[in-house]
Symmetry: C2
Subunit: 356 residues, 2 copies
Amino acid sequence: MSIEKTVSQPVSNWAKGDGPESDIVISSRIRLARNISGYAFPHTMSNQAADEILNAVRLAVDNDEVRQEFGPLEFVRLEELSPVERQILLEKHLISPQLLEDIKNRAVILSEDEFLSIMINEEDHLRIQLFLPGLQLEEAWQKANRVDDLLEKTLDYAFCEQRGYLTACPTNVGTGLRASVMLHLPALVIAGQINNIITAISQLGLAVRGYYGEGTKAVGHLFQISNQITLGQAEEEIIRNLLTVARQIINQERSARAALYKNNKSQLEDKIFRSLGILSYSRMITTEEALTMLSDVRLGIALGILDNLTQRDINELMMLIRPAFLQKMAAREMTAQERDTERARIIRLRMEKLKK
Amino acid sequence: MSIEKTVSQPVSNWAKGDGPESDIVISSRIRLARNISGYAFPHTMSNQAADEILNAVRLAVDNDEVRQEFGPLEFVRLEELSPVERQILLEKHLISPQLLEDIKNRAVILSEDEFLSIMINEEDHLRIQLFLPGLQLEEAWQKANRVDDLLEKTLDYAFCEQRGYLTACPTNVGTGLRASVMLHLPALVIAGQINNIITAISQLGLAVRGYYGEGTKAVGHLFQISNQITLGQAEEEIIRNLLTVARQIINQERSARAALYKNNKSQLEDKIFRSLGILSYSRMITTEEALTMLSDVRLGIALGILDNLTQRDINELMMLIRPAFLQKMAAREMTAQERDTERARIIRLRMEKLKK
């Protein structure tokens, strides 16, 4: 396996649109924050210590048991990647914006199927991430937990009986667990119900974020819902809570879709077809507008209004058109306007192909 | 010839997009206001008098000389037409909104080619209208003048040596002439120059109106420019003045198009293709939005950006999609939403056909 493959394919396997409830749930993610005992947290540690952590984690995953369960893993230092390649990993959600804030002595370990990503020396020494398509929080948790157990055979985690896993930021202390689901909620947005739902979710101790996490906008009607509390609840309980809320939101989105289809079918069809028209004809389009139009088309597929297209096509396009990936494919840096033109061209080509 | 043909064909010959400067000038029109001596003006005359006028005009056009020069003419009382048919004549500009305000004792005489239309008992006893495609004001004036001469052989016009032709409204006294051109000025609108031009035109004693005359909006970037003054200038002078101004505006529109194409080609192409996309995909569209999108497409044709389509296609569609014509084709009355759906369907069908 090579990192070249990872940065050449627009979509991770877990984002292709399979899995349970995939008409609404793009993906499920488990993230575990872990630190190595006896070392300062990344933001205060020395270069030498950082390097030691890198090596320790690399050795910890380099064994047959890991390979057998998760396939071959690749260890990549950020410094070995070009800026565009780093952006692609970010666009694919395999690394976080925080990891890119300083690329020295930082690395990521990726499984070939891209279900597993371990960031090293981000806010914590380790950030283990496990992605699965659709609504599979418990399954993702089991796998992440298994990775954690395998690593713990070699690594000495910073752990306190009273507080649990110790982390650089107190919001992660305890389980170090963040579970999240990425939901596509166009009908709740169109019906104007989304704000009430976001308020209700927040009151349940869960966070609602945009597609790229904290502080990002919910472009393309994609919402990430995750737990806020990491302390005082067992992992299973955190996941069960999130799953319950996710199922409720899925039902609300389904009801909103059914109501829209029943009461505003003509308007809805018009909106969806117009978005398809703009995607098929525009000569320049921003990422945000394209994602909004693709969101409408995705809804059209889910409702059976559009039948030549699949959720997978749209999920792929949603990744394909992102700035870094566009530049990687074109093998050159581009201005924003060049990207808008290239993005429109790629979408048009894809739309023509799909309609045949 | 039958009126059925007139109300079944969406576009008059003069609106099909031929003629000089037809990339910018849709049509030229001459209108002459005339009244019959010894009768009160229409707004105060008796039913009997109105009926006598109808008969007098009908007889005046019913002779071989007229037929030889203008082809067979049809005399149609408004009362004989259905409401939808009357609306179609209005949509085709063959009659005015004012003529429809009261349909009793009112009529229109139409030539088979629809170049000539004589409204009877509108604001004046006669409103002679002569339409030609493109910029042909002088040619239209010669023909209208000829109709006027032929009618005058039979009819005794109300005429005063000092004031000229007498009319119901003092703004028409003198020549009774209104000359106008219908211009398509999308580039001046896009470039934000149109308001300055309208102000300048107004200062020259000319009026700028929307597609359906006084008080209507300039939908589809179509502007009607006409003389305001009817008194104290000879017909030829009025027409020469209008022609000079029209030529200037045509040059300004051409410059604006060239500048847009040179400096903002990408944005312009994007705008034009998006409009084509919406026309090709929407499931509901209002007349106004459709005309705006068709205007963009018409500009795209003029600039060579779109090459499968012709000005004539677009001019036809601009008429085809109007409310009354839609209902006539569907042979039933429709709600606004039904019309929007039907309009979108007809445009889609036409776009698919044209792209083959």
